[in-house]
Symmetry: C2
Subunit: 281 residues, 2 copies
């Protein structure tokens, strides 16, 4: 027999994570305090219902850490999926997968014949900006395509043999718009750009201009500066692949994430060490 709800440990959820669309995986093991469903304003909800809650599901680990809370994150649950999407976007841009798909669906193969050639991935030089667990998975995959890999990150990784570049460009002092006009010019007309990180690392206006003018060959973009809005100029370009911020999301990774979160919560409520504890650098 299931224990009654009030005996389950309380889990406060202020805003539902996206996977709640597919069912609440916590309901069987925790009393989920669903703040977003309450008619009360948040402070009212917290004082009325969440005084004794000891666990919180949220995004924004930094502020929790500053208040001394133990934080567990998603660990490397998403690394494979994001790396897969990055490679998928690179192949889709170079081999013009979506443009080819449109060409066939519109009946142009039979009408017009040859489809314009794409470009090779195998052997292309790849620079990875940020070589954490995702970047390393991208590198591993692209090595199998025969691509020489180099990388940029805050610090050189002693365990990695890929060539290290301290800056993406000579002006770089922060991540905001680190991919700016000078980087796009350096990529050049045979270069492509894949973004599965955050929209704001690219100067999107400059990118749009480069794509419209053919100053770079193409781009695969899963993230944008002002989501869900996408620059209108991109919507009709054949040299871009547009993706609605889904690089991290597959059925399998949602399942894996829910299991990891439950395991962390169970560890917490059993006074065991968290499985994916965030440690301040």
């Amino acid at each position: 027999m299931e224990p009654p709800l009030r005996d389950l440990p309380q889990l406060l959820v202020i805003n539902p994570p996206a996977f709640f669309n597919y069912g609440d995986p916590f309901a069987a093991k925790f009393a989920v305090l669903r703040a977003w469903e309450s008619p009360l304003p948040l402070p009212g909800f917290l004082s009325a219902h969440a005084q004794s809650a000891r666990a919180l599901l949220c995004s924004g680990a930094a502020r929790c850490r500053r208040r001394g809370m133990a934080v567990a994150n998603a660990g490397e649950v998403f690394s494979d999926d994001v790396a897969d999407e990055a490679v998928g976007l690179a192949l889709a841009v170079l081999r013009r997968v979506s443009a080819a798909d449109r060409f066939v669906r519109r009946g142009l193969w039979a009408e017009e014949g040859d489809f314009a050639l794409g470009s090779k991935l195998a052997g292309k030089r790849v620079g990875i900006v940020g070589l954490g667990s995702i970047g390393l998975q991208v590198a591993k995959r692209l090595e199998a395509f025969g691509c020489p890999v180099s990388y940029n990150s805050r610090t050189k990784k002693p365990s990695v043999s890929y060539p290290f570049y301290a800056n993406v460009n000579s002006q770089q002092t922060q991540t905001h718009h680190m991919i700016d006009k000078s980087v796009l010019l350096a990529l050049g007309k045979d270069g492509i750009l894949i973004n599965v990180c955050r929209g704001a690392i690219i100067d999107e206006k400059e990118l749009v201009q480069s794509l419209v003018r053919g100053e770079i060959r193409g781009a695969g973009l899963d993230v944008f500066e002002n989501e869900p809005n996408v620059p209108e100029e991109l919507l009709s370009l054949d040299n871009v692949i547009l993706s609605p911020h889904v690089a991290v999301f597959t059925e399998e990774s949602f399942q894996d994430l829910a299991e990891l979160m439950i395991a962390n919560l169970e560890a917490f409520f059993s006074n065991e060490p968290l499985i994916t504890l965030v440690i301040d650098e």
Copy 2:
């Protein structure tokens, strides 16, 4: 100074290969006899202009071999590109790359919000039908995605450690329609099918039914039974990626192919061994 045309060795071309659309790479080194441009019927053209030609550019190596001609083929020039396209199609089907691209271009991200989840490539079991130079390149790439690989081919490859299956299905006696209903049922509703080989190896009617009914998850198809015609039912499906028989073609591979063909022709006219001589099995 270039030698006059009549001193160049003659190269007979009956039908132009697709890359002639991008310029004739042979013109500088060979006297190209362009049979397809002649008003004469082919036998007339051959007796009038090609009596002394000793080299022929064509498809259909088997008939040439039967007549005792030395045949050089494209070697492994296309293997990387076809393997890249196969992996690109697999990622595009699983991660719904083209459907996502349509979703964004139609403005549905801002209107409707979440896009339905795709499925993971990393770790999925992969069966490769035909483990020649292309299949081996596919295997190498998918291993880097953490996919366990097995294969089918006419004979077990002693140099390969992937598990070997003698038949794709128990009824298989030939390659025509070897991917039939029983194989599609075995793939099942989480399985996907990628074809970068020839259309006729799949029973296309059965495939269309499986896709329409969701009996398999999706398909990435570069080849079809009746090209350039594509079954109309596929044109509106979100779980397929359609591609106009371009897996082998990139700007780079066309260039590589032209160089290889010229090198073979130069070897032939210098009485040197052909570089990619076809040897009968």
